[in-house]
C-alpha cells in the first residue's frame, strides 16, 4: 500500500514542514499525516496549497513505515531533507526555532 504525505517549506525560514490533521504543520516527518487514499491526498494537497502564508510550494511525497515502525520518506532526497545535511556543519550555532503556524 502506498502512503503519501504533504510537505513544503515553511515561508518563515524555509524549513521542511509536514501536514498533520486539522491543517496543522510539524517539522518532524514522523509526526506528519500519512494517507493512503488518493482522494484524501489530493484534497489535503489543495488545502495545503491554499495555505501559502505558512508554506511554499506544497507537494506530495511517498512515505513508508521504517524498521521501527516510524514514518520515513521513501526517497533519499526526502530523507535528507527531513533529517538535515549528512555532514558535520562547520558552525556550531544551532538554528533558532521559529514559529511556523
Amino acid at each position: 500500500m502506498t502512503l503519501w504525505m504533504i510537505t513544503g517549506n515553511a515561508t518563515a525560514d524555509g524549513a521542511p514542514i509536514y501536514l498533520q490533521t486539522n491543517g496543522r504543520w510539524t517539522r518532524r516527518l514522523a509526526e506528519g499525516l500519512a494517507v493512503s487514499s488518493e482522494e484524501q491526498r489530493d484534497r489535503l494537497l489543495a488545502e495545503a496549497k491554499a495555505a501559502e502564508r505558512i508554506v511554499c510550494d506544497a507537494y506530495v511525497i511517498d512515505v513508508r513505515q521504517g524498521a521501527r515502525g516510524q514514518l520515513e520518506a521513501t526517497s533519499l532526497r526526502e530523507r535528507i531533507r527531513a533529517e538535515g545535511p549528512t555532514l558535520t556543519l562547520l558552525g556550531a550555532a544551532p538554528l533558532r526555532a521559529a514559529a511556523i503556524a
Binding site: 517549506n9 515561508t11 518563515a12 525560514d13 524555509g14 524549513a15 521542511p16 501559502e52 502564508r53 511554499c56 510550494d57 521513501t74 526517497s75 533519499l76 532526497r77 535528507i80 531533507r81 538535515g84 545535511p85 549528512t86 555532514l87 558535520t88 556543519l89 562547520l90 558552525g91 556550531a92 550555532a93 544551532p94 538554528l95 533558532r96 521559529a98
Partner: protein
Amino acid sequence: MYRYDHYDQTIVDERVAQFRDQVARRLSGEIGEDEFKPLRLQNGLYMQLHAYMLRVAIPYGLLSSTQLRKLAEIARKYDRGYGHFSTRQNIQYNWPRLQDVPDILAELASVEMHAIQTSGNCIRNSTSDHLAGVARDEIVDPRVYCELIRQWSTFHPEFAYLPRKFKIAVTGAVKDRAAVRINDIGVRVVPDPEDPSRHGFEILVGGGLGRTPRIAEVCREFLPREHLLSYLEAILRVYNRHGRRDNKFKARIKILVGALGIAKFRAQVEAEWAQIRDGAMQLTDAEFERVAGHFEPPPYRTLPDRDTFVAALRLGKDRTLGRWVASNVIAHKVPGYSIVMISLKPKGRPPGDATSEQMELIADLADQFGFGQIVVTHEQNLVLPDVESDRLPELHARLTAQELAEPNIGKVTDIIACPGLDYCSLANARSIPIAVRIGQQIDDLDYIHDLGDLTLNISGCINACGQHHVGNIGILGIDKQGEEFYQLMLGGSASDDASLGKILGPAFSSEQIVDAVATVLSTYVDNRESPDEPFLDYVRRAGFGPFKERIYGHA
C-alpha cells in the same frame, strides 16, 4: 578597490527598502509565493532543501577586510556561523530566515555590498583572475574592465529578462586562471597586433557546462579596448533576440552559438555592433581612468628580491612550512612580496566553507600582513595578495591555529564541489561527503605533493555547479533507481588548454567511488614518464586504457 559613489549607494539602499516591503507583504499573506519568488530571486534569495539560501555578490571576488568582517558577523548573527564561498567568487548563506533577509541586505549595504543579480536570468557577477593586480604574467589589471562591466550590466533594462542566466569572465594575464572558456562570454586581454604597447581583447563566446557542455569559441580575435561594452551589448542583443525561451535546458547562449555555428553568430554580432560601436558606450580615456583610479597599486615598500629566501623555505627542514610554501605561496610581481593562497579545503571539511571566526582571522591577517584586501577564487579558496615574503613563516603559524594552512592548493584534495544533495533542491546525489572522504583517504601529504597539480571537481547533478566536466578528474553524481551513483570522468581542463572530460566507464556506487579515484591516481603514478609529467598530460598521452585495465579489469 572600487568604492561606491552616491549613485551606487542610493541604488543599493533603495533596493533594500523595496525588498523589506516585499518580504513584509509575503509574511503577512498579502502576496503569495508565485508573486514573491521572482522578487526574492532578484535579491539572490533561493529556496533550498532545508532553508532559504542567500547568495551575496562579491564583484570579481575582491573583498576589503571590513567587508569580510561584515560577512562573518552576518553568518554569526543571522545564520549558523559559517558561509560557503562559491565557484563564481560569491558567498552563500545556507540558513537565513526570511524576516531577517532585509536586515542582512541592509548590513551588506553598509559595507557597499548586495545580492542583486546573483540569481535570475540576468547578467551575473563577472569573475576574474584571483591573482589580478599582483600576478607576474599580467598584461593589464582585469578588474578595471570587470568593474566597467559591473556598472554597465547592473539593472541594464534591456537584459533583465534574458532567455537564461548569463556569465562573463575576464582575464588580463597570459595564463588563464579565470576559466574564461567555460563562460557565456570570455574576455581575454591581448596585445594590439598593430601596436604591442596597447592592448585590447579576444572575445570568446558560447562556453558553459551543465547538460550540454561546450568550450567557448572565438567570436572576435581582437577588439580595441574602447569598444568592449558596445561589443558585449551586441552579443547580448543577438542572444536576447534569438536565444530560446521555450525550453530552459536549451536557453543558454552556448545552444544558440552551437545551432547557428560561430560564423553565423559572429556575423549577426558584427552587424549589430556596427550600429552601436561608436555610440555612448565607447570607452573614453577619462572613463577608463576614473575606474582605473580605484585599482591603483597599494603603497608597497621598496624591498629586496626575496625569491631565494622563499625557495629556501620551500626546501627547508620545516616540512610543514615547506609544503605550504610550495603549494600555497605564489611569486608576486613586486620584489619582496608574495601571494598567499588560503585553502578552504582542510581534511574532513566541506570545500569552500569558512566559519565566522576564520573569516574574522583572515580579515585581521589581511590588515596585519597586507593592505586590507582579500580575494575569493573560483576554486573556492581565499587569497591574501600582498604579503611581505619575510613574514611568511609568521603568517603560516597564524593560519595554522585556525585550520587555514592546509598545503593543498592546486592539489588533488583542493576539490571543487557543489553543495549537492545535502543542500540543493536540484541535486541527485551528494557531493560534499564524497569530497570529504577523498580527503580522508588520500591524506599522505608527500603523496599528494608527488601527484603534482591536479584538479578534481564534483557535481551532484547534471547542472554541473561543481564543474565536473573540466576537472582533470571529474565526478558526476547520478540517481539510479533511487540510489546515488557516480560517473568518473578524466581529461577535463578549464585553463588555456580547456577540454571536456570523458566518462571512463560504468558508474560507481558511493562506496566504490573513492577507491576508484585512488586507483586512477595510483595508475598515473605507476605509469607516468617521470614525476614531471602532469596528470593531465599523462591522460592525454596514454588514453583511458591503463585506467580501465586497473579499475574494470579490461581496457
